[in-house]
């Protein structure tokens, strides 16, 4: 029996004509507004059990003993599993480094680490059973920052490291370190008329996707398992899951269920292996749904960071050099930290021309929550710091902050600190110009004839000011983000495209393993097929592991890479269709042999516009199917000591202008407007592009003024794992977000497009910070800014 809620094909009918460049509407829109769209947490199966995870209550401890007997004795409990029950020798997983235990063994390394799992007939039974498992911990000292990690007597978070970074790091509690050295900083420094230094702190942000981790594992008759799951990358999950289960990959079938947002937080595994283990052990389908509390422990977060920067500039405003040191807290397990380090170091200079740099970025192993992928991926932390530096430099030089940035802005041809030339448009100065040219929002919009409208003032509905203490500020920022997987990673996608005649109409079916997480890949992929193959009806098959890997829905890469794979497969399909056409009709018209032929409007047409045949006739009795892998240009690893190498495939750029009003007495902030200009190369779906830019901008706003996972420095325990105390922006916190989209084609990319999703998350945060600095005159070297930072009330009393 199929699981209830298994995804079905999504077909868009002939009312949707849209090829690329049109704001075609989402094919899953109707299902999503009627509540019929099946998310992973909506999956249901007759006779299914509920899984529950028991997590560590301490951050760092030896596990002296685990007693599951009382839990097993509870009626309704079908299985209780610990490390000892794992079926094979593979007991760890990880994106790059297999350092994460499926279930804790001997030791727990962070608060909330999975220790045991339970399957029971009702979630409450499973919770009661988990509560009856007795775990005896002997607590160990916690490593929480660089000082404690590298102290002479520091406890090692991971003993006996064997990963490929272990050989080049200065301390076993440093997971990975990437220096980049270029030019001669000492000589350049001597040229500087002003030197500005800053020490910056970036808090721990959570992806806070709204659909918590969940999935359903269904045991299959052949001894395998079918997992319905919300993830960002089915095949990466599969590669990590199968060996732990002791199954060949073809016996672990994976189907993408509806995904309630991701933003990087679903790049690592969460409950996948646990659900499969319980299903295989009990022989019953097992559903696991995290609640919000557990979700905060169930996925990695954005790395908190300490950043030290030094910049110099000449009197006439030219940057001379940059030195920086970026320390990222990777937490207890590696996740994507090495790649985040690569990004933080290689993008640490920002979108500016600086020939002489001395850069170091590293990630620590600590007992804090594991950190990994989140929208912006290492570039976000750096952007916050270098943009603060740009404002400081401009102020020291008495220059306008936007003009100062424009004077130093990179452009096509600029060489990155890694030695890689930027070989496509880099309209940094232009984006700044555009965002600055947008009309300013009117002053004092909160004033009305009936008095102050508190909804438009800092504090909002809480009625804290009627205008008292309110000061406006304006700030600018711009950032640079790489698109796609970097540093020599074999970054490819696979598309299967089929064309046939159904009911007299030519129909195209596209099958990829691309994870639709809300971004609209399914919309754009159908648009590509329409454009390439000239049909209106395109069916997007559910994403699953019956087709090759699509790579991750991250790094702003799916439109580029899976879109590229679909275009490539479509081109091959077109060739085959034309071959059939030539075979069938070639004798009817000489143009079949001589002209450039296209597929348009359901017909084969010449480049002169003459119709040669209906596709329905060409494909009568035949179908064409192609499955192909497609890769973007190869990249290279960064040299471990110099950081040199053509590490990135494409860059994307966005600039923001923030207008804020700050209640300077209470330290409350209202963002009035957050304007953005971004170059997207080519907007395949303009409406979706706006959605990405506005959504990314708002996540950056959250990081500026409210979002932070607070970890107790003494215990490494998370203090606010809930939506009561981890706040994300409401609609009353979010301003209007006017967007100016620039389309300068990147000739190396399909259709000239540029990945869109991440760049707006970079510059949004520093723009808001700059605006708050403008309003308050405060230095503000940390984000998020809290009221106590704006009112001089940070220190505890007594």
């Amino acid at each position: 029996m199929a699981a209830n809620g298994a995804p079905t094909k999504i077909t868009q009918g002939s009312q949707t004509k849209g090829g690329i460049g049109e704001s075609t509407l989402r094919p899953d829109g109707t299902l999503k507004v009627t509540g019929e769209f099946a998310y992973s947490s909506d999956m249901w199966h007759e006779d299914m059990l509920w899984g529950q995870i028991l997590r560590s209550t301490v951050a760092h401890a030896q596990i002296v003993s685990i007693d599951t007997s009382e839990a097993l004795a509870l009626p309704g409990v079908h299985a209780v599993l610990t490390y000892d029950d794992l079926p094979t020798d593979v007991k760890h997983y990880g994106l790059e480094i297999r350092d994460t235990p499926v279930l804790a063994h001997g030791k727990v390394r962070h608060h909330g680490e999975p220790v045991a799992i339970v399957a029971a007939d009702h979630p409450e039974t499973a919770r009661r059973a988990a509560a009856k498992i007795k775990v005896d911990y002997r607590e160990l000292p916690v490593i929480t920052d660089e000082a404690s990690a590298t102290a002479p007597d520091a406890v090692l978070v991971h003993e006996n490291r064997e990963d490929h970074h272990a050989g080049h790091v200065p301390h076993p509690n440093i997971l990975h370190r990437q220096p980049i050295v270029r030019g001669d900083v000492a000589r350049a420094r001597a040229r500087a008329d002003v030197i500005v230094e800053g020490e910056y702190t970036f808090g721990m942000q959570d992806q806070a996707f709204l659909g918590p981790e969940s999935g359903l594992a269904v045991p299959e008759e052949d001894g395998g398992v079918h997992l319905y799951i919300a993830t960002q990358w089915l095949h990466s999950d599969l590669r990590q899951i199968a060996p732990v289960l002791g199954l060949p990959e073809d016996k672990v079938r994976m189907t993408l269920s509806g995904v309630g947002g991701a933003f990087g937080g679903r790049e690592d595994l969460s409950m996948q292996i646990h659900a499969c283990l319980l299903a295989l052990r009990t022989g019953k389908p097992v559903k696991i749904v995290y609640n919000r509390f557990e979700s905060f422990f169930g996925h990695v977060h954005r790395h908190p960071a300490k950043l030290h920067y030094e910049h110099g500039a000449t009197r006439d405003g030219k940057l001379t050099h940059m030195k920086c040191r970026i320390v990222l807290d990777g937490g207890a397990y590696a996740s994507a930290s090495p790649a985040v380090v690569g990004n933080a170091s290689s993008l640490s200079v920002g979108p500016y021309v600086i020939d002489d740099v001395d850069i170091e970025a590293l990630a620590l192993y600590t007992n804090n929550p594991p950190c990994g992928a989140m929208r912006g991926f290492g570039a976000v932390q750096a952007c916050f710091a270098y943009e603060a530096q740009m404002d400081k430099l401009a102020a020291r030089l008495g220059m306008d902050p936007v003009e100062f940035r424009q004077l130093n802005a990179m452009e096509q041809g600029t060489v990155m600190p890694t030695g890689q030339p930027v070989d496509s448009p880099a309209p940094v100065a232009e984006l700044l110009r555009r965002v600055k040219a947008m009309p300013m929002p009117p002053e004092r919009q909160w004033e009305s004839s009936e008095g102050a409208d508190v909804r438009q003032l800092p504090g909002g509905l809480s009625n804290t000011t009627h205008g008292e203490g309110v000061v406006r500020g304006v700030g600018y920022a711009v950032g640079i983000k790489n698109v796609g997987f970097s540093e020599g990673f074999d970054d490819y996608s696979t598309a299967r495209v089929r064309m046939e005649v159904v009911g007299g109409e030519p129909v195209v079916t596209v099958h990829t393993a691309m994870a639709e997480v809300g971004q609209g890949g399914v919309t754009v992929h159908a648009q590509i097929a329409r454009t390439e193959l000239g049909v209106t009806q395109v069916t997007i098959n559910p994403a699953d592991t019956r087709v090759g890997s699509a790579g991750s829905t991250s790094a702003s890469r799916q439109t580029y890479v899976t879109g590229g794979a679909i275009r490539h497969a479509c081109e091959l399909v077109r060739e085959k269709v034309l071959e059939i056409g030539r075979r069938k009709f070639g004798s009817h018209h000489p143009a079949w042999a001589t002209a450039e032929l296209l597929l348009e409007g359901g017909k084969v047409v010449t480049d002169g516009g003459e119709a040669l045949a209906d596709l329905a006739d060409v494909l009568e009795g035949e179908s064409v199917e192609v499955e192909e892998e497609w890769r973007h240009r190869p990249t290279e690893p960064f040299h471990p000591r110099t950081g040199q190498g053509n590490g990135h495939v494409q860059y994307s750029f966005a600039a923001h202008r923030a207008v804020v009003e700050v209640d300077t007495e209470l330290g409350l902030v209202k963002v009035i407007e957050l304007a953005c200009a971004q170059d997207v190369g080519k907007a395949l779906n303009p409406l979706s592009v706006l959605g990405q830019i506005q959504g990314g901008t708002t996540q950056g706003l959250g990081m500026a003024v409210m979002e932070e996972i607070v970890v107790d420095p003494k215990t490494a325990k998370v203090k606010n794992p809930s939506f009561t105390d981890y706040l994300i922006p409401t609609i009353l916190d979010t301003p209007t977000i006017p967007v100016d989209v620039l389309e300068l084609a990147d000739e190396h990319a399909p259709y000239g497009l540029r990945g869109v999703g991440e760049a707006p998350t970079l510059s949004s945060t520093p723009a808001v910070l700059a605006a708050i600095r403008d309003a308050t005159g405060l230095e503000l070297n940390r984000t998020p800014v809290r009221p106590e930072h704006l009112t001089g009330t940070r220190r505890s009393e007594g």
Partner: protein, 185 residues
């Protein structure tokens, strides 16, 4: 325990309900109505918003036993609910008021409430997890306040978190639904 109540106009009975279960759990896991979403279970996100005797509430904060004998409208019943309302006022001209042939795969042709159609048209749906709760809340606001200011919309929807859109397209969708509603009236 057993709970009897009305959901989207139909009487429903749930058996063997554990006393600590929420209305949200009963809807999703016992009545096969998973449209209301579980995103926080603490009244801090609005994804589970339903109408209880006409009033928008977080169904995660309603104990199952509290709905005995009461009426619940979920996103699954929103089109009918809005349709009855517009029939009641003589408004039958909403752009989506007519049913077309329904495509079982995409739901195309499904009868939609004006606010549902507006969310699709304005691009207010991305991952869609917040969408059901927002639709129920926005529909109720337009019922009370057919001509809302932007500040009114923001206040009425301030209990519904969205993580994908930055809310701009949601604002557009509500404005669009209000405009279509007033054209149709």
């Amino acid at each position: 325990m057993r709970v009897n109540f009305t959901v989207n106009g139909r009487p429903q009975e749930a058996d063997d309900v554990w006393e600590g279960e929420s209305l949200l759990y009963v809807l999703r896991e016992r009545l096969g109505l998973p449209g209301s979403k579980n995103a926080c279970e603490q009244g801090e996100c609005g994804s589970c918003t339903v109408r209880l005797d006409g009033v928008p509430v977080c169904s995660c904060l309603v104990a199952a036993g509290q709905v005995e004998g009461r009426e619940v409208v979920t996103v699954e019943g929103l089109a009918d609910y809005a349709g009855q309302r517009s029939c009641g006022t003589g408004d039958r001209t909403s752009p989506s008021g007519t049913a077309r042939d329904t495509d079982s795969q995409t739901g195309e042709g499904t009868r939609l409430a004006p606010i549902q159609q507006a969310f699709i048209d304005a691009g207010a749906v991305q991952c869609g997890f917040c969408t059901p709760g927002l639709l129920v809340a926005a529909d109720e606001m337009l019922e009370r306040n057919p001509d809302p200011t932007d500040a009114d919309i923001r206040e009425a929807l301030s209990g519904n978190l969205c993580r994908c859109t930055g809310y701009e397209k949601i604002m557009d969708a509500v404005r669009l639904a209000a405009a279509r509603q007033s054209e149709g009236a």
